[in-house]
């Protein structure tokens, strides 16, 4: 498995400047022949609460779970959890993991037919059971799929405390079916578990969504990869954010590694490429001074897989220091885009149309400027965009709940800056 790390930045700073920004692109070739460097465990969590009876959701969920099971590679450990008021293991026997084979998958598919919708939603308990099952296989690439259709029924704060205790132990991709679930709840899970969140508005779309998640999960060939950021004395990391394929703030996930370095979990990797925005506060240098502001490494355990340098060079030449780096500008815009969309949705819900119009207007402008067509299209379902360039929008009187939730969940999706014309 080979990785590359490359920093994009304008290293030239005006005298007195102390903020260093860089976009670090991490690319992995994936393991040779797609072979994993470690074992893998997959857990499918299906909401089986009473509300799943509506709109034929439970039937669609059964079909989706079967599709997912059939996509599990031979040799991968797996389990299925039925989510009701408590967590119940649907397959295999409670407390155990099955080893994927044509026989075990067929058995799992048969067990899925027993899945009945009744009871409540207890996402914290479901995730806790998943974490217990994963703990049998330390070192595995651990991935879970979570499907729900409603708001969590556990006491307030319980889900958060569970996430605190299991965060980083496995990657969890969440999907909400219908429109009765809470985007903010699933986003919390995505952020804590380094996963994705998305809406599946119609139950008919579930099988395709599960298939896609499984294909991606099975493509992961290495597990717990981390970004290690070294900074010199008197310098601090202001933030580390994943900015592509979606925005994810990793700053709070820092685990100290010696006096001057910290590790940020970046999850499991297959053959793929992601971008990170690293922002460092340094002490200013004199004209002509060059400082290593950060040494960014991709690490797995003690192995350094790739490394790149973020530099700061102080110059009196304003032609150099005022140069705008395309990557940094692009992703700064994309991160702001996610923020203003979420702020716009909040304001609209609170009945503050004026703020909502301003936020969505700015969002339309940013989506347009950064070429994020998908987000622009999603925005157009919530507001009428009169002029994207100036950010002139009008709130739509009637907005489908599914459209607004899609905009909310996908607001963090970014597009990559065109590498050819930087």
């Amino acid at each position: 498995m080979s990785y590359t790390a490359e920093a994009f930045q304008n290293e030239f700073l005006a005298l007195g400047a102390t903020e260093v920004n860089a976009i670090v692109t991490v690319t992995s070739s994936g393991a040779e022949g797609g072979r994993r460097t470690s074992g893998a465990t997959e857990i499918i969590i299906v909401d089986a609460s009473g509300s799943m009876q509506a709109e034929g959701r439970i039937a669609a969920a059964r079909q989706a779970a079967k599709t997912a099971v059939e996509s599990i590679d031979d040799g991968v450990h797996f389990a299925i959890i039925a989510g009701v008021s408590t967590a119940q293991q649907l397959f295999p026997a409670p407390g155990q993991l099955a080893v994927s084979s044509p026989d075990s998958r067929a058995e799992a598919v048969r067990s899925i037919d027993r899945l009945q919708a009744s009871g409540g939603t207890a996402i914290g308990a479901w995730l806790l059971l998943a974490a217990q099952l994963f703990s049998q296989r330390p070192g595995d690439i651990a991935h879970a799929i979570l499907l729900t259709d409603g708001e969590n029924g556990e006491r307030p704060g319980y889900l958060e405390s569970v996430l605190d205790s299991i965060g980083g132990r496995f990657v969890c991709d969440s999907r909400g079916v219908g429109t009765n679930w809470k985007v903010s709840e699933l986003r919390k899970i995505a952020e804590a578990m380094l996963g994705t969140v998305d809406i599946v508005a119609k139950p008919a779309g579930l099988a395709a969504a599960f298939q896609e998640m499984m294909t991606k999960a099975m493509g992961k060939t290495s597990g717990d990869v981390q970004l290690k950021v070294w900074t010199p004395v008197n310098s601090t990391v202001r933030f580390v954010k994943q900015v592509e394929p979606e925005v994810m703030d990793l700053t709070g996930k820092r685990v100290a590694d010696g006096a001057r370095a910290g590790r940020y979990p970046i999850g499991s990797w297959g053959s793929e490429s992601r971008d990170y925005h690293v922002c460092i506060d340094v002490t200013s240098g004199a004209a002509g001074d060059e400082m290593l502001a950060a040494r960014v490494s991709v690490v797995e355990g003690d192995d350094v897989l790739a490394q790149t340098l973020v530099r700061a060079v102080w110059t009196e030449d304003t032609a150099l220091s005022t140069r705008i780096n395309r990557q940094v500008a692009h992703y700064t815009g994309q991160a702001e885009l996610a923020d203003v969309i979420q702020a716009g949705i909040e304001a609209r819900k609170a009945g503050d149309d004026r703020t909502a119009t301003i936020k969505f207007g700015r969002a339309a402008q940013l989506a347009h400027e950064t070429g994020n067509k998908q987000t622009e299209e999603l925005l157009a379902t919530v507001v009428d965009i009169e002029d994207a360039a100036t950010g002139t929008v009008r709130l739509r009187r009637k907005v489908e709940a599914a459209d607004e939730m899609a905009l909310d969940t996908r607001s963090t999706k970014t597009v990559r800056v065109g590498r050819s014309n930087q």
Binding site: E290, M291, L309, T315, E316, D317, T318
Partner: protein, 361 residues
């Protein structure tokens, strides 16, 4: 030497106008007083790695044994030194050259080439355009490619040439070497860091051949060659491809032109955006001993007056080895502010022995 866009003239990059120097101000006023008005920052010591301390201790924060393999201090992050910060070439009596980072630039974007033996010297000085991307690579490639091309292909049959034939051949070779260097520098835009495609690596070049008493130079940009006779002012052999030179040629008052902020903007360079490279050449036959001096604007910016230039170089040469003289000139420019990278090559040239009227190449 630096180029940038200017708000007052929309098309200058296309028109080839570019600014000079870190400050972008009237450099003619920056001329130093006597060398004892030295900048408070110390000039590099005359010998190569300046510090006598442990090379692995940090010159910035003083932490012992803290400089890592990549040259940065593991404590304060400061770059300890780059190999190109100060380079010397010593050909004893034949020639000497020094290139130095100066005081205000973070790296040395000048490069040089110097090879030779008595009566046969090839030299190149190239200065990377600071505002381009990877200018240090541009100048290095230009100096290496042009320098190698000056030596001929080695397989050439030795032929006896008349002075006229030799002059023509050397002019062609200098032009060819610079064009070849230009092509190599232009190619850099397509490889490596993609930012090179936007702000392609660019540089100036001045190349010289000394064959016995015959001195030939070729250039693009504002790196210069001077002939320094035993007495009197230095004679500039090159004519800068710069805004000021252009304006003066069109009739502008030289002093006013040199004080213009655009004075040092270069109008020709090597690089992907340079268009066709048309090197200019000049040559002459030495009739009395003197020195051929090649230098980047990091030196001549402080010595725009030919008489002062001559005086300063003669002082440096006085009783010293060529290398010490070159070091002394780098030190002079550093003491004067070291606003740019400094490169200087010194090549003594003497008239031919009366019996040698033909030259073998």
């Amino acid at each position: 030497m630096t180029t940038t866009d200017c708000a007052s003239c929309a098309d200058e990059r296309a028109a080839g106008v570019a600014f000079c120097e870190a400050c972008g101000n009237k450099l003619t006023e920056d001329e130093p007083g006597p060398a004892d008005t030295a900048d408070t920052r110390s000039a590099p010591a005359p010998t190569a790695p300046a510090s006598s301390a442990d090379p692995k201790s940090c010159p910035h924060c003083g932490t012992a044994d803290s400089v890592g393999a990549d040259g940065y201090c593991e404590n304060c992050g400061m770059l300890a030194a780059r190999p190109r910060d100060h380079i010397e070439v010593d050909l004893a009596e034949v020639a000497a050259a020094v290139t130095d980072r100066g005081q205000r630039h973070h790296r040395n974007e000048d490069a040089m080439w110097l090879v030779g033996h008595p009566g046969y010297v090839d030299a190149v000085v190239s200065d990377g355009v600071s505002s381009s991307f990877d200018p240090d690579l541009a100048s290095q490639v230009a100096a290496d490619i042009a320098g190698a091309a000056l030596g001929g292909d080695g397989s050439r049959k030795l032929t006896f040439l008349s002075p006229e034939q030799l002059a023509e051949m050397l002019a062609e070779r200098l032009s060819g070497a610079i064009v070849q260097a230009g092509a190599a520098v232009a190619e850099l835009a397509a490889g490596g860091d993609p930012r090179r495609a936007v702000s392609n690596p660019a540089c100036t070049i001045v190349a010289a051949t000394v064959r016995g008493q015959f001195v030939d130079v070729g250039w693009v940009g504002d790196s210069r060659a001077y002939w320094l006779p035993a007495e009197g002012p230095a004679e500039q052999l090159t004519e800068d491809d710069s805004w000021a030179t252009h304006a003066i040629a069109l009739g502008a008052d030289p002093e006013t032109a040199m004080r213009d902020p655009k004075a040092h903007a270069i109008t020709a360079w090597l690089g992907a955006d340079a268009g066709p490279v048309r090197p200019r050449t000049a040559g002459f036959t030495v009739t009395a001993p003197g020195h051929l001096v090649l230098c980047s604007d990091g030196l001549w910016n402080y010595l725009t007056d030919p008489a002062r230039f001559a005086g300063t170089v003669r002082d440096a040469l006085d009783g010293k080895s060529l290398l010490d003289a070159a070091r002394q000139l780098a030190k002079f420019a550093n003491a004067a502010g070291g606003a740019d990278n400094i490169t200087v090559v010194l090549i003594p040239v003497a008239p031919a022995h009366p019996e040698h009227t033909e030259y073998k190449e």
